[in-house]
């Protein structure tokens, strides 16, 4: 199978993720869309790794997973804390600061 197809899939996933971040209103869903974008990056890394016949891309994919895990820890902590004080995780409700 042509490896380019994986790249198209990865670009598609990335676009879905980016569109989700812009459209969705729940902070948790927005965050999941960011994770989808990171995983799309992983797919691209692994495909390019295969194309070039070196291991760099696969190693980077592992780094990305670790970073994504760390990001989940920090992100969920922040989102949960704001949810507990406002009883809402909607990014539209976070509007204390406006011009």
């Amino acid at each position: 199978m042509n490896p380019a197809n994986y790249l198209y899939l990865s670009a598609l996933l990335f676009t879905i993720g980016a569109a989700g971040v812009l459209i969705r209103r729940n902070a948790i869903v927005v965050f999941m869309c960011v994770e989808l974008m990171l995983n799309a990056c992983n797919l691209a890394f692994v495909t390019f790794s295969r194309l070039h016949g070196n291991l760099d891309g696969q190693v980077i994919a592992f780094f990305t997973m670790v970073v994504a895990a760390a990001e989940v820890v920090v992100g969920l902590a922040i989102i949960v804390s704001i949810f507990r004080s406002r009883h809402s995780a909607s990014v539209d409700d976070a509007n204390l600061m406006k011009l």
Binding site: F14, M37, V59, T64, R84, M97
Partner: protein
């Protein structure tokens, strides 16, 4: 299969002996990486202090450990520069991951000094009134407690303080040290996350206005994660184009000097990978420096975050991110400058104008300083675009000058207070010069430096970047820069007029008397502003000597 096979022979059926030279142990130059290693070591030590030292001694222990660590790391940076690693012995360490060269050492030294001064403002405990008999700083008693809940009140009564902020600060500084020195895209990405994640948490930990602080953290986090996903996809595309993530490797593929392989012939035949990859990586970095159109987070986050954190973020993040942007554009993609320069021109012009114009309408001091930081990002971009050696050195000088002014200005903001905490609304600052002339005068010095009035560091910095930009053939940028400086000067002067030439309000804010910590921070800010303004030559020469990247 015969039964006569030995154990080794059977084993060899599904394994192959790894050739001894396949995975050599990496060669790490510990001495040359010592500033980074010291900071991360101290950060880890801070976590241990948090776990094992009794609560009443933690604050003292954390501040002492962090201050000693930052001072030691700064001494190590200076020692490296003395040995010539900034000039003649500049090279690439840690198996190609980290560059030890002039710009890296200069920016690391700046970040460490800024970090030390920021540590002083973090540790300040005399501004807030005592809570149930114990001195408190600007950070929440317990970050996880719901604002206004029983749990929070209990934490305040017990005199809890979030001493975790000190290890978090150290981790952020560690990431920032690596960021401008990163010599491959993977290190760049990991360093970005290492310094961003602690900052997200620090933003959420304000003692006063906790809802606003949490809101700032959510906004910063979601947008920061979004932008780092773009950066990562850009890295993936650049890796796809060049088959490597090392800066030198990508540069040689872009120049066409790399040995051609069939895979490379396939991927380099299509410039879309390179151009889109470059655009997405630049997007991630421009988000961190707060350039228009990626600036939306800046005012909200600067306003909501605890003011010491805002000061640290505004200065150190900008230093680190511009360092990384410089290295990316000057080391990896000089062969592409005809493609990226027009785009950067547009970004710089829009950033300068938008920052200055929107700042005019602001009524909150912290938001005003946020928009002013956006305008300054535009001025620095003008120096980046120069693509000449003087472009590098002028940006280095500007960053050093700007970061101390910013830290000092935000430290002054923490002093002007009323019953609800800091009084950040501009109308509350009316007549401050009559009531406390010293504080108002110090703030006026910082505002004049932001405006770029001669005899302050702001003038020397602006002159250097605009000179570099005009030499680099970006004269229109200089003209736009001067016009937006004039617009910006209007609102800086307006604040000064408000402070000195209007009647103080009877219910106006009080100016808290800080401890030696914040006083030192502000005094250092004033001293650096005046020294770099009156006698900039030594530091310009230093930046000039440091202004060569290793490839």
């Amino acid at each position: 299969m015969s039964a006569s096979l030995t154990g080794t022979a059977v084993h060899s059926l599904w394994t192959v002996a790894a050739p001894a030279d396949k995975f050599p142990a990496p060669h790490i130059e510990y001495a040359q990486l010592s500033p980074v290693l010291i900071v991360f070591g101290i950060a880890a030590l801070g976590v241990l202090v948090e776990a094992f030292v009794p609560r009443k001694n933690r604050y003292t222990a954390q501040v002492a450990v962090a201050a000693v660590g930052l001072a030691a790391a700064f001494a190590a940076t200076v020692a490296l520069a003395e040995k010539g690693y900034g000039t003649t012995k500049a090279h690439i360490a840690a198996m190609g991951a980290v560059a030890v060269d002039g710009p890296a050492l200069f920016l690391q030294g700046t970040i460490l000094l800024v970090g030390l001064v920021a540590l002083f403002t973090f540790a300040e405990r005399r501004l807030d009134p005592r809570a149930h008999g114990s001195r408190v700083d600007s950070f929440a008693a317990q970050g996880s407690a719901i604002p206004g809940s029983e749990q929070e009140q209990a934490a305040v009564r017990a005199g809890f303080t979030s001493t975790e902020v000190f290890p978090l600060l150290m981790f952020a500084i560690g990431g920032m040290l690596v960021f401008p020195a990163a010599n491959d895209l993977l290190t760049l990405f990991v360093a970005l996350e290492v310094f961003s994640l602690p900052l997200y948490i620090l933003c959420a930990l304000a003692r006063r206005n906790r809802l606003m602080s949490q809101e700032a953290a959510v906004k910063y986090f979601l947008l920061g994660a979004f932008s780092s996903a773009f950066l990562l996809f850009g890295i993936a595309l650049l890796y796809g184009y060049a088959g490597t993530v090392s800066y030198a490797g990508i540069a040689s593929v872009v120049d066409g000097t790399a040995p051609m392989t069939p895979a490379l012939a396939d991927t380099t035949g299509n410039d879309a990978l390179l151009l889109i990859g470059l655009a997405m990586v630049a997007m991630g970095l421009l988000f961190k420096v707060g350039a228009v159109p990626f600036h939306m987070w800046t005012p909200d986050v600067y306003q909501g975050a605890p003011t010491p954190v805002t000061g640290f973020m505004a200065s150190a993040t900008k230093v680190a991110a511009f360092g990384a942007l410089l290295r990316l554009l000057y080391v990896v993609l000089p062969g592409m400058r005809w493609d990226w320069r027009p785009v950067m021109w547009g970004v710089a012009i829009v950033t300068m104008l938008a920052g200055a114009v929107i700042a005019v309408t602001q009524t909150d001091v912290k938001r005003l300083l946020a928009y002013s930081s956006i305008a300054h990002a535009g001025f620095i971009l003008a120096g980046v675009i120069a693509t000449t050696p003087s472009g590098i050195s002028s940006v280095l000088f500007y960053l050093a000058a700007y970061s101390f002014v910013t830290l000092g200005a935000f430290a002054v903001v923490t002093l002007v207070r009323d019953a609800g905490g800091e009084a950040t609304h501009l109308s509350r600052w009316a007549g401050l010069g009559r009531r406390s002339p010293l504080v108002a005068a110090v703030f006026a010095v910082f505002l004049l430096a932001f405006a770029g009035i001669p005899l302050t560091s702001g003038f020397a910095g602006k002159f250097a970047v605009f000179k570099a930009a005009s030499e680099g053939g970006a004269m229109p940028l200089v003209i736009v820069g001067v016009i937006s400086s004039a617009i910006a000067a209007f609102f800086y002067i307006r604040v000064i007029v408000l402070m000195f030439f209007s009647e103080p309000r009877p219910d106006g804010p009080t100016v808290a008397v800080p401890s030696a910590l914040t006083s030192t921070a502000i005094a250092l800010g004033v001293a650096v502003t005046l020294v770099l303004g009156l006698a900039p030559q030594y530091f310009l020469d230093l930046a000039d000597k440091a202004g060569v990247f290793v490839r």
